[in-house]
Symmetry: C2
Subunit: 505 residues, 2 copies
């Protein structure tokens, strides 16, 4: 082991500790199973014991793990991978439906922990699957969201890859060389906001139910959707996603989806008393502006082609569905208020466009993200200027600060890598589906690549919001598991593990 420059023992021990902590989460489906007649109770007990046991075993590799920045890549990548693997246990053990197959189970679990929300289930219903299984599926996204906030704010900023060092100035607490104390401190304050929003949201959803505005939104559904909105997850125990609920519910979901796409550090500043923290932030204004503008454009498009919207028509309906889908697909939530796959080509093209935007940095949203686009646009403006004045030195500023040129280069590299991986995804999925003669549309393949890499979930056609990824060959599913994993961890933590340099030099 001495030839390795990575402290494997320390890293694996930390992964083990995190897995052992994760195993506590099985309490939720266990309680659920007890409430609903004990169905699948043993499944979760076994999963809990297995996860805790494996985690504690790993932990014994190093009783006092102190991983450094180098190990962070490894810890991040393997925590998500092991969480997905052990989170898939209940699906396999319960043995019900398509997700009993190991590849499908891993797909569904990775889709959960990465808050993607892509599904391979054939029947999404508490009739076919137990309440406990369906709630576990929701919970994986909420847990994934907790991890992402910490990853985005505390860890990636330390690794300074893909321009993430821009986040550094904004993180609460002093920067420290070892990751663990910094993570603990940051996690505590940001999780307060995350948990607070979740509780308020569940209460409001259930409030709509109690006041008669949401007959279908019972306590189970309120909790289930409470688990998948703040993490921009998008899983629903209803096959029709948010189309199964009343307009009142849909109007309530929109602002909470929006909240989930905001940098949680800003929420922390707001809660700490800085009332202008949101509007002072350039990225927030860009996010708000983009979502508002695209909503108005899509609403206009839907109003012109009223038949697209669904059973209802009229301005309210156009506006609601436009705002819902724009927010949902911009910040990678993936909920649907209507089967938007039935919309006109131009309306769907607008949705495809927003899929490339992504949430804010420091949010639970996936994708390229607002800050990166903003830096790219500012720096491209500079590039045009310097092509006229090659001698000019003109820094790029954000929130009044001059941006480091290395960070700009990191953002350029991240975005190009993202686009390249997206394009290669189209290529690989096309070849693999053709291999088994799977009849799939071109736009379906395009959307499947961006919807998995961007942790969005639904796309168009066979991967539309009321459909799923079940019919893809297993090799495609494995590729998309990789894509969800790579995309969620912002590419570099997984990619560096594939290099010799990481392990040997």
């Amino acid at each position: 082991m001495r030839r390795l420059h990575v402290d494997l023992r320390s890293g694996l021990a930390l992964v083990g500790t995190l897995l052992a902590l994760l195993s506590i989460a099985f309490v939720v489906p266990i309680v659920t199973a007890l409430l609903y007649g004990g169905e699948d109770l043993w499944v979760f007990v076994v999963s809990m014991v297995g996860t805790a046991g494996f985690g504690l075993l790993l932990r014994r590799l190093d009783p006092n793990p102190t991983p450094g920045a180098r190990e962070a890549f490894f810890v991040v990548a393997f925590t998500w991978l092991f969480a997905a693997i052990f989170g898939a246990l209940p699906y396999v053990l319960a043995g019900t439906g398509a997700i009993a197959h190991p590849v499908n189970a891993l797909f569904e679990s990775m889709s959960g922990f990465t808050t993607t929300g892509a599904t391979v289930m054939e029947t999404i219903s508490v009739e076919e699957h137990s309440h406990a299984i369906m709630l576990w599926r929701q919970l994986t996204q909420w847990l994934g969201g907790m991890g992402i906030i910490v990853l985005a704010v505390a860890i990636l900023s330390q690794l300074a890859v893909g321009g993430a060092q821009l986040m550094e100035a904004e993180t609460p607490g002093p920067g420290v060389s070892k990751l663990t104390p910094h993570i603990a401190e940051t996690a505590r304050v940001l999780w307060l906001a995350y948990i607070g929003f979740t509780l308020v949201y569940i209460a409001l959803l259930y409030g709509l139910h109690l006041t008669g505005y949401a007959p279908e939104m019972d306590a189970y559904n309120a909790i289930a959707h409470g688990f998948t909105t703040l993490p921009t997850g998008g899983f629903s125990p209803e096959a029709d996603s948010m189309a199964a609920f009343s307009p009142a519910v849909q109007w309530l979901v929109i602002p909470f989806m929006f909240i989930a796409g905001v940098n949680f550090v800003l929420w922390w500043h707001m809660l700490a008393g800085d009332r202008t923290a949101l509007l002072d932030d350039t990225e927030f204004r860009f996010y708000l502006g983009a979502v508002t503008a695209m909503t108005l454009v899509l609403a206009a498009v839907l109003a012109v082609t009223a038949s697209d919207v669904g059973p209802e028509t009229g301005l309210e309906s156009s506006l609601r569905h436009a705002a819902f889908q724009v927010v949902s697909l911009t910040n990678s939530t993936g909920y649907a208020s209507v089967d938007f796959d039935g919309w006109s080509g131009p309306a769907k093209a607008l949705l495809l466009f927003v899929m490339f935007l992504g949430g804010s940095t420091g949010s639970t949203g996936g994708g390229i993200k607002m800050l990166r686009w903003l830096v790219i646009l500012k720096s491209l403006r500079r590039e045009v200027f310097t092509s006229i004045h090659p001698e000019a030195v003109r820094p790029v500023r954000m929130n009044g600060q001059v941006l480091d040129e290395d960070a700009i280069r990191g953002i350029y590299a991240f975005t190009l890598l993202y686009v390249a991986i997206f394009l290669v995804g189209i290529l690989l999925l096309a070849v693999d589906t053709a291999r088994i003669g799977y009849d799939i549309g071109t736009i379906d393949l395009v959307s499947a690549s961006i919807a998995t890499l961007g942790n969005i979930g639904p796309g168009f056609g066979v991967v539309g919001p009321m459909a799923g990824y079940g019919d893809f060959p297993e090799s495609s599913k494995l590729l998309m598991i990789l894509y969800m994993w790579i995309g969620r961890l912002e590419l570099f933590p997984v990619l560096v593990l594939l290099t010799r340099a990481y392990w040997r030099s």
Copy 2:
């Protein structure tokens, strides 16, 4: 005028000189009209006189124009714009079919001079339009190709935008501060190769006709297609493009399309006796490798789904259509050997993928181009490495030379700008088509954006190889005219003209 920092007089005078030279090209349709009974003869005489007159008038602004690097942006952008405008005159004056409408005429003419090959014609036939008109349409692409070679090799490399300075080392002749002498020298040697290939190609096409392998490839068709292959243009006087011709013709077209996508500086080196110039060049090997690999992949996909290929089946047919479409859409030619819009979703997804590649730098091909992708891939590898070793200094090399970091940044910026403009194109086309209730598919919109920006021509659905852009609203057509123009000139020459800094500071 003294407040301007751009020497407008000098620039416009040079544009005028080039327009006056362009007017000589009308001799070709005039001779054609005389050969075919004089139809539309007056149209071309008037166009020739008008173009020459306007050009000579502009030229009087400055009898001895000496534009510098600053004016080069202006000269390049306006030469193409004026060429498109005066090249549209014959369509309007002839008054036949859809292209008699000014917007359509400008679209068809810009599509010609930018070697895009997108068409708004309703009936592509020498029955509806005169032989002279149809040959002028072909000739605009050949003339555009001549301009592009000079633009790509001699001008853009001097402007050092979008990483074009990488070309500088390879250009024949010494670098000089004033553009004109350098252009003249470079143009001479590269045009020799361009004209030589065209003549050999026409001779071989007609040879196939004389030997009975290509009944439809008469002298008119051989010349017409000779005008649109080396410039990666893709216009054809046949509505069915290359599907109207025999397999023998298609097999001959493939290598000449491939040649058109190679850096013409390499052909110059080869003709000058350096027999290994091609294979010594990294970009050429990358181009050859990409096209070969994608051909094999697509042929396999087509062989699995044999019904896709068309009336014929079998290995030869799969391989021919695969090679044809891959070369044609990779380097932006846009010819079709079969209506590939009828192919399966996966097969079309492969074609969409190659549309993002582009030809080689210094070729007549459009798009992002091989060299940029190669530099991006090499530099992303470096980025992954330095994310592990932040202290490491590791230059990116190409053909054994260390690349300038500014050039790499320029390539990053170019490619991101390209992707951003492509995405915004989807958005704008979607809104504009929805406005008039045009029933168009999502993938049609996606492909229309890349096919015009990338100067490819055909895409999928309503813009498929056997269809066209005629049904778009005029506003969309104007947008796509802009996209063809911007894309062809490698973004910056047009974009800088839109900034205050170019004109005032």
